[in-house]
């Protein structure tokens, strides 16, 4: 079984690397390697059906879901590898080793007779064999897995789906409203000024300067104003004043 001896070190290495990888995406990809390797090992052990399912369902679907979520979360977010819980890493490794050694020893020390092999069971073909058992002996479990899937779907809906509670306003309604506001309160009907116009920075925390050189409150997000992270633009104002005094400077471009 060359496949095993080739794949096993690879899988173990990948597993360790996956645990140690800085970036979540790398971990996911390493996991994919392990899964595909496993699929091969399944195939090597007379489980062609599982080989297929492993690749299609696990690697293809499950892992892709992981990747989607990773994308959502931010694909290049990387973990700091500094351990914050005191002694956690050492303890984890020690306990993990202990656990692994115990289980591996218990399993490894076991003397198995010669493997019976699946020749008999797979006589009608692996898929048929599985089907025969699955739809008789495990029929109930199989049916119950549907509950699992419904739960999953329902759960995803509950947690992720955002139902619209009020009908969306049409363009027309919005326009009418804007004009009415202008009529009644005098609110500016046009778009709000962008940040940073006539300023030295165009970042969101820099207020736009109005033609008279005063900063426009409206150009800054309400949140930022509340947080007090608005950049001080008094220097820009003097600059703007200078520009006003000497329009030639604008033409002059950067100095």
């Amino acid at each position: 079984m060359i496949a095993f001896w080739v794949l096993a070190p690879v899988m173990v290495a990948c597993a360790i690397a996956m645990v140690m990888a800085r970036k979540a995406v790398h971990s996911a990809l390493l996991l994919a390697v392990i899964m595909i390797s496993l699929a091969i090992l399944y195939a090597a052990q007379n489980a062609p059906f599982l080989f297929a399912v492993q690749i299609i369902v696990y690697t293809g679907a499950v892992l892709m879901l992981f990747l989607f979520v990773l994308m959502l979360v931010g694909v290049d977010s990387s973990d700091s590898l500094v351990e914050t819980l005191r002694g956690q890493r050492v303890a984890a490794v020690v306990v993990g080793l202990l656990f692994g050694v115990l289980v591996a020893t218990a399993v490894g020390q076991t003397t198995f007779g010669a493997a019976v092999g699946l020749q008999a069971a797979n006589a009608d073909g692996n898929v048929n064999g599985i089907a025969a058992v699955l739809f008789s002996k495990y029929i109930f479990a199989f049916e119950v897995t549907s509950a699992l899937l419904i739960t999953a779907a329902l759960g995803a809906m509950v947690l992720a789906h955002r139902e619209r509670l009020s009908p969306k306003a049409t363009q027309r309604e919005l326009a009418v409203k804007r004009m009415r506001d202008y009529a009644t309160t005098g609110a500016h009907p046009g778009p709000l000024p962008n940040s940073g116009t006539f300023a030295r920075h165009n970042s969101v925390d820099t207020p736009a300067l109005l033609p008279d050189g005063t900063p426009s409150e409206l150009s800054i997000s309400r949140v930022m104003r509340a947080r007090g992270t608005v950049r001080d633009v008094s220097a820009d104002r003097t600059l703007a004043a200078e520009v006003e005094d000497d329009p030639g400077q604008i033409e002059g471009g950067d100095r």
């Binding site: 819980l85 303890a91 306990v95 656990f99 115990l102």
Partner: protein, 620 residues
């Protein structure tokens, strides 16, 4: 005789009425209170007559079963035998006189009915003590006397000193009771019964250890009640009570209970030489102890109290000597009852006149204003020092003779005691009635009213004539059914010589006192610089100091440290355990750190341990 119980019941009922009646009894309480013991006296006389004329050895009455548990049966029975008879008459007779006297003495006290209630309770308890036919019933009276004395000594409770003295009397008595109680238990364990008869029957077969134990335990009880060394300390303090109380306690009732107990238990002591010797030693020591204290006291009541101790010591001594002494012990007890009651009431009369002044140094020349008191007091004086012909002469002389019969040392001690008695009594007489007048200006001594002087006169007469009881050895014969035939002591010298010797010693005491006190001026304030001997005698030969050092101080220290140990030690351990659990809780709840990875770690570690455990179990 079926009316026997009335002897006790009358004063008891009267006490109940007076104590529960409250203010309603103010008008007639004292009369009822006085009538009750007098009525008992009458019944006692009738019974006495019946006993002396009848063939029976004793009159008895079974009332009811008191205690009944398994083999332990205590019948509430009364026994009126010659010994009890004498006591009943003494208690009710002298007691009755004291009641009469109290009518006058307590006239101005708003709580007089209560006082009479207590007195009646006292008398009832004492009567129960002497009439019981069973040690446990005797114990009931015994403690009842203790209670009544507690109430009476502390009658003026608003004075701290009175309250403390009362408590002290009770507690010290309780120490004696301890012996008494243990003696009764030992009787029950040994004989299966606690009746006098049962114990007497069984005494022949007991081991000497048991007999000695019984004897010593009873002696301890007797010491407490009779204020014998080492439980003497309460007696002098007990003078805090009103004077009639002192008279009642010291003359007729309480302190004689110890002598009664020892003589009543003669059958115990006859089986044990050791206990008998102990009684003699206690008697002898107390005799001298009390006499010495009496010499140094300026407080008239305390001087008399010392004398009581001393005289009871004589009785104990006699009782300890054995069959040769029993009858004389009782004889002296009776005569002492007469003259000591006389003396105390006389002293009370003086105090009454002197606005409750008790210091003899502030008396002097009282005879001039209180002739009756003086004369009656003089009778008592002559009786107590053993002036020939007076009651004390006969009884004390008999005891001294018996003491010499016991041993030379004991005899000499008793003789010496007689000398000292003569000394301090003479001193008392001189300081109070003779010498120059030293009383305060405000005092206007006057003779007491008739209700007080009549009892004095009666008692004086008895003090003079008490000796007739010995006429033809009557009292010895009378008591023979109880004590068996008298044994005559072998004296080293003829009786006449003995008597003369005694008289000589007494005379010496009187003369010395005269020489010391009538020739020099007596200070109104006790001199400070005195010999160590005087100092020791003034402080009761350090009896209180010893108690203080040996029991009270360590006791206080013990209780205080135990309170501390209980709070900090046992309760502390409990609270500490709680705190420990709480602390553990506080510590291990930190394990629940809130980090899911820590939880996972604990799970993985748990799994590893489970596997390890399973494998280990299989391998083991």
């Amino acid at each position: 005789m079926s009316q026997l119980y009335l002897i006790i019941a009358l004063p008891a009922a009267s006490a109940a009425v007076l104590l529960l009646g409250g203010r309603a009894t103010n008008a007639w309480g004292h009369l009822l209170g006085t009538a009750a013991p007098l009525a008992s006296f009458v019944i006692g006389v009738v019974a006495f007559a019946q006993l002396s004329t009848g063939d029976e050895e004793a009159l008895t009455q079974q009332l009811f079963t008191w205690i009944d548990a398994g083999a332990f049966q205590v019948e509430f029975g009364l026994l009126f035998d010659p010994l009890s008879a004498l006591f009943v008459l003494l208690i009710t007779g002298v007691g009755g006189l004291i009641h009469v006297y109290s009518i006058g003495y307590m006239e101005h006290d708003v709580r007089r009915p209560r006082f009479f209630g207590y007195l009646n309770l006292f008398v009832a308890a004492m009567l129960l003590l002497v009439l019981a036919d069973d040690y446990l019933a005797l114990f009931l009276g015994w403690e009842g006397v203790g209670l009544a004395s507690y109430l009476l000594i502390g009658f003026w409770q608003h004075k701290d000193s009175a309250a403390v003295a009362a408590k002290k009397a009770f507690v010290v008595n309780r120490v004696g009771d301890l012996g008494m109680a243990l003696a009764i238990m030992l009787m029950f364990a040994t004989f299966g019964t606690t009746t006098f008869a049962g114990v007497e029957d069984g005494m022949g077969e007991v081991t000497s250890a048991t007999a000695t134990g019984l004897g010593l335990l009873l002696l301890l009880g007797a010491c407490g009640k009779s204020a014998q060394v080492p439980l003497q300390s309460w007696l002098l303090d007990a003078m805090e009570g009103p004077t009639p109380v002192s008279a009642l306690i010291h003359a007729a009732t309480m302190v004689t209970a110890g002598v009664y107990l020892v003589t009543r238990s003669h059958f115990v002591y006859e089986q044990t030489q050791a206990a008998q010797t102990a009684v003699v030693i206690v008697g002898l020591v107390t005799l001298l102890w009390g006499a010495i204290i009496g010499c140094a006291k300026d407080d008239i009541k305390k001087a008399l109290a010392g004398s009581t101790m001393s005289q009871i010591g004589y009785m104990m001594l006699a009782a300890g000597i054995g069959p040769a002494g029993y009858a004389f012990a009782i004889f002296h007890l009776l005569t002492h009852g007469f003259f000591k009651a006389n003396l105390f009431l006389g002293a009370g009369s003086v105090m009454h006149a002197m606005d409750d002044e008790v210091d003899m140094r502030r008396y002097g020349a009282v005879r001039t204003v209180m002739p009756i008191t003086f004369l009656t007091f003089a009778c008592g004086y002559l009786a107590i020092i053993g002036f020939p012909g007076f009651a004390g002469f006969w009884s004390k002389d008999a005891i001294i003779e018996a003491a010499f019969g016991e041993s030379l040392i004991v005899g000499l001690g008793a003789l010496g005691g007689a000398g000292i008695t003569a000394f301090y009594m003479t001193r008392l007489m001189i300081m109070t009635f003779v010498s120059e007048k030293r009383w305060a200006k405000e005092a206007h001594p006057h003779e007491s009213p008739l209700v007080m002087t009549v009892p004095l006169m009666v008692l004086a007469a008895l003090s003079v004539l008490g000796g007739v009881l010995l006429l033809n050895g009557w009292i010895v014969d009378w008591l023979e059914p109880v004590f068996g035939p008298e044994e005559h002591a072998e004296l080293p010298v003829p009786i006449v010589v003995m008597t003369l010797l005694t008289l000589a010693v007494v005379a010496a005491g009187v003369v010395v006192a005269f020489l010391v006190y009538s020739r020099q001026k007596i200070d109104t304030v006790a001199p400070r610089r005195v010999s160590p001997f005087t100092k020791a005698a003034r402080s009761d030969l350090y009896g209180d100091a010893i108690n203080e050092a040996a029991f009270m101080r360590p006791g206080q220290y013990l209780t205080r440290s135990m309170v501390y140990a209980d709070n900090r030690g046992i309760d502390g351990a409990v609270n500490g355990l709680a705190a420990l659990v709480g602390g553990t809780s506080g510590r291990i709840r930190r394990w629940q750190s809130g980090f899911v990875r820590s939880y996972a770690l604990s799970m993985l570690a748990g799994s590893a341990l489970l596997i390890l455990a399973v494998l280990a179990v299989r391998l083991a």
